[in-house]
């Protein structure tokens, strides 16, 4: 967007093909519009982008480093590469590291067959993890009357943090600690059920890409989620303001 708020139309190349894009779009949006496949985990339409999962990395001509497509704005004459051997290698490695950090056991997970992490690893052809697993010990928090939090499945995408802050406005969630000690917490790292600010709306559960947040009473592979409400919720709220 230019300084006076006007939106321009840019022409750029994605995998050698000319496409046009609005100047307020990200590379990821343009790629998705033109049906180029880019894997993502932390991105969700309707939430802000933070570029945390590093799966949407793309190559941009003239840039030495890979750039995350979700936080890179388009520019005139940009030349983007969405798939090549190097990117495939990096994406696989990133996914393997995510798997090694926590205890992701699909066969007993509530989100089996409805899991974005599982889907992406199948799609990117991951059949084994080349780094040692860390096997951290995490307790499951089932203190909430309707929902369950299982840190063992969490990939720290922070979708729950963002949806609670940006859409619901409660900001019950945040990330505590740093590096390998990082984990999502409610209020003062207290049981979720005792968090007074939680409105029990369940948005965090519905946006969770994995089985870290689930509804109570669901067994293995029964945790279906719907996150389609986000884009129109964001759009309608913006219109009212």
């Amino acid at each position: 967007m230019t300084a006076n708020g006007q939106i321009k139309i840019f022409t750029l190349k994605i995998d050698g093909k000319d496409v046009s894009a609005r100047s307020d779009q990200t590379v990821l949006q343009v790629c998705r519009e033109n049906e180029y496949f880019i894997p993502t985990l932390c991105h969700l339409e309707g939430l802000s982008n933070i570029g945390a999962c590093r799966l949407c990395m793309v190559e941009v001509a003239g840039q030495r480093k890979l750039l995350p497509a979700c936080t890179t704005m388009v520019s005139e004459g940009m030349e983007v590469t969405t798939t090549n051997d190097k990117l495939a290698h990096y994406r696989k490695m990133t996914l393997e590291l995510i798997f090694s950090e926590r205890n992701h056991t699909c066969s007993v997970c509530v989100s089996n067959n409805h899991c974005e992490l599982q889907y992406l690893s199948q799609k990117l052809g991951i059949n084994h993890i080349r780094v040692p697993y860390r096997f951290p010990k995490f307790a499951v928090d089932a203190s909430h009357p309707y929902f369950i939090l299982d840190h063992n499945r969490c990939i720290l995408c922070t979708r729950c943090v963002r949806v609670c802050d940006e859409i619901e406005g409660a900001h019950v969630w945040d990330v505590s600690g740093r590096g390998i000690q990082a984990k999502v917490i409610t209020e003062l790292n207290q049981p979720w059920g005792s968090a007074d600010t939680c409105t029990q709306c369940g948005k965090c559960v519905n946006v969770c890409p994995v089985g870290a947040l689930s509804e109570k009473g669901r067994s293995v592979a029964e945790n279906t989620k719907r996150s389609g409400f986000l884009p129109y919720l964001t759009a309608r709220r913006k219109e009212k303001i």
Binding site: D165, V175, G177, E187, T197
Partner: protein, 164 residues
Amino acid sequence: MPAYPVKVQPPTEDKRWGLVMATMKRHGYQSNAMIETLHTVQESFGFLDDDSLRFVSKALNVPLSKVYGVATFYHFFTLKPQGKHTCVICMGTACYVKGAGELMETIAKKYNVHPGETTDDGNLSLVTARCIGACGLAPAGVFDGEVNGKLTAADTLTKLTKWE
């Protein structure tokens, strides 16, 4: 329900809350003064307990989880009281190469304390630092504010036994 900002009273009668209130007032009770306010709490009380985190969160209208996230992100803040004595071991590259890791292991083994923790009797806090700027003296450590260089495991233990 009153609209924010609401004047929030400190959790206890302790005079030190005056310092915290002054910091918040100086910044006009803006939520972006959270880190500055936590600094004052840490410096006046020595650590951040649940009550002080709740107070800061309420007084500055910042979500509780955000305050907790910030307090656990920065090494400067501690959620538990510090020990009577503090031993900082530099884990910067130079010190690490010169054997800071072994120093740390020796202390951890002898006093049964992990980096960032305090012994059960509340006497010793073991802290790591990422380069204290004394690379020429590697491996270096700070014992209650006094910098010591070219440490050996025996040196370190002698220093620590004096505190027992």
